[in-house]
């Protein structure tokens, strides 16, 4: 995959003439890993395809950007253990080009404790946080198609991990690997899929605040689930859950090794539960 990406970049660099009328620039930026005490990473990205993954080299970050240089400029600041990455707008008449969008591929170091803050706008995003040592996590997405996965267990512990999705198709898988005491999902309008798979180190708590849309909870068998719903007009397909008063519980909730409490506050929409192996 990476070879393909480098190949594409190489083609862009070697072939000087690309799209006329727009000045597309490809940039690769990186910084050597150095001793940091309290690393905080802020990533802001406005338009295009956004990718995040971990890197096994001695790098603080490696970022590959493709952007319209007449409208944006890359940002890569590191000072006082604060790392700020992304692009920012420089043009006065910023418009989103529908023919071609930019991209940002970001690699962050494995095993380096960090507080990660990702904010991205009208983009499609593929984010794999597996391998990162996260002490805090905030993911905020606007109108986008976002896929977040925690493919490996987080070696650090997170107090509260927050996901905010505006009007989006948002998917977060492997939430059990986050190693978070509390996971908060704040969704506006759209389709949300949350996968509670992964290696839960302790009992978990997931709070979901949804405005309007469809929510799919993918719960692995063996994880005890208690679901509490506070909604105005929301239908729930609670297959496999037993209703007990105001809550829905999985049959093995009391005996389960790991239990997850899910608190849903939804205005309008549909909730469905899908059991996975």
């Amino acid at each position: 995959m990476r070879k393909v990406a480098w190949g594409a970049v190489a083609a862009l660099v070697v072939l000087p003439a690309v799209a006329e009328g727009q000045e597309w620039r490809t940039v690769t930026m990186s910084r050597q890993l150095e001793r940091v005490e309290d690393l905080r990473v802020f990533v802001e990205y406005g338009a295009g395809h956004f990718t995040v993954r971990s890197v096994d080299e001695d790098l603080l970050y490696r970022m590959q950007l493709e952007y319209d240089e007449e409208k944006f400029e890359p940002v890569a600041d590191f000072a006082s253990d604060r790392l700020r990455l992304g692009v920012e707008s420089i043009g006065r008449n910023v418009s989103i080009n529908t023919r071609r969008t930019g991209s940002l591929e970001l690699e962050l170091p494995r095993g380096v404790p960090m507080d990660l803050d990702l904010e991205f706008g009208a983009v499609s995003a593929e984010i794999d946080l597996g391998g990162l040592a996260l002490t805090d996590l905030d993911v905020s997405t606007g109108a986008s198609e976002s896929y977040v996965e925690i493919s490996e267990l987080n070696s650090e512990e997170i107090g509260t991990a927050t996901f905010e999705a505006g009007a989006a198709e948002f998917t977060a898988m492997g939430l059990g690997n986050l190693n978070a005491d509390r996971i908060e999902v704040d969704a506006g309008v759209g389709s949300i899929t949350l996968g509670l798979d992964g290696s839960w180190q302790d009992d978990g708590y997931v709070s979901i605040d949804m405005g309007l849309g469809a929510l799919e909870l993918r719960i692995p068998e063996g994880v005890g689930v208690r679901l509490k719903k506070d909604s105005f007009l929301t239908a729930i397909d609670s297959e496999g859950l037993i209703k007990r008063g105001d809550t829905f519980e999985s049959p093995d909730f009391d005996d389960a090794e790991r239990r997850v409490e899910i608190d849903i506050d939804a205005a309008f929409g549909a909730i469905s539960v899908v059991w996975t192996r």
Partner: protein
Amino acid sequence: MVAMHMPDSLRKAALCLLMAALALPVGIDAQLRSIVTKSVSASSSGSSIELHFDDQTTLSIALDDGVAFIDGESAGSFERGDELDQAWRDLLVEAMSLENGELAEVLEAWEAPSSDVVAMRVDQALERALGVEQSESVSDAVVQSDATSLARFLLQSLGRLGVLDEALADLEDEDVQVHVDEDVTIEDGESVEGTLVVIEGTLRVEGTLDGDAVLVGGALDLRDGGLVRGQVRMADSRVLRSSGEVRGGIVDLLEDMRESESELRTELRNEIRDEVREDLRRELRDVARFESDDFSIMTPFRPVIRGVGGVVEKLVAVFLLGLLGAGFIAFAGQNVDAISETARRSPGRAAAVGFAGSFLLVPVWLLGALALIVSIVGIPVAIAWLPLFPIAAMLAALLGIVAVARNTGEWLADSTLPWTGWIRKSNQVFTLFGGLLGLAGLFIAGHVISIIPVLGIFSALLFGVGTILLVIAAQIGFGAVLLTRAGRRREYAGRHDPDAAWAAAMDMKPGEDAAADTNDNRGEG
């Protein structure tokens, strides 16, 4: 420090030695500096690299729009797609995927693709930035005076080779002494014969040099009483002091290059200046255009321009609405008839329904969307509902205005008002355009009056009354569209007839027990 005496033709052999040294397997890995950050970028217009080293120093090289920049300074020009451009882009492609040590090795090992001065400078800049610091280790190595050590040192000064070759050209002296990385002093009273070549060092002359001096990357310190009988050739060097005498004169070998550089700088400066000047001019023009406090030659004509612009704007709107209305009449004439009839017969009811409908539009839209989104099956329908509902509402409003405009046109045709004689009731398009002009009449009059500054209050009054009438007309039209379900039902198109209503309620044939003439008023419904 090295001092080599070179009999006659050996000077070219010295160059060969230097060149040959490039091929020696010198262990350079440990000597390269550590790169902390890198930024490699490329676009259709240029490509660049920026490096930050662990000692806080930086290096940036950019080949952009035909100009090469080293640390922000112009290093000369190149042709896009030429040998240098291609070799540079190839290097950057490799550099993108490499980090620190590997990256430094690749960059350091890069060789200028040609003997072009710009390429050599780029190469030299990379060598300088990535090589070991010019410190004890280098000097210690050079003191050994063996060819490998010399070559290793000169490897780091690869960029000097081009100018060295140029500096040594055409020298006829028998003896050439080459001093690398050391200062050379000809003491007071001392006389040296032959040609002195000083690379990366200072030549201090207090006595006499009976020959030529060649300085590459060094300095000349010509003290009082010092004499050079031949020529002093300088490349990338400077004169510290010139109190003595140089009989053959001082020649700057890179003068031409500097001149072309200077020309390039001037050209760039002029371009930037012109661009800034043009920007300023544009800004000033904009300010003059929009700053109403400032007087300009156009100031007296502004009300006229505004007034005429407003009239044209309204006429264009009437024309476009007329075209749309003509389309409605052509393709849905009966629906327009029903709506017009309803608006004429039941204007109060239609207006009430229109107002209510206007207020309920947004809630209905949102609630409809929510009702659909509640079910998963309904979500795709909601996707269609969200954009189509406002479009349908807008079409309904336009249809209503067209219908009311037609009624207005018919009324104007019947009236004795001036300039209405051309409206013929027999032609619906005429009545439609006449009605639209009638509805827009107050606005047009307002724009015309606004041309005279003192009559601004009347203009505002006309706009206000015109707006109220237009809103009422729009509400009547919209209500009529709703009442008739876009002209498909005609219940409200006729006047209310109690007998006919009774007959309908009793399921009797019209006229059986009711006055026959009431049938005319019921319409088709």
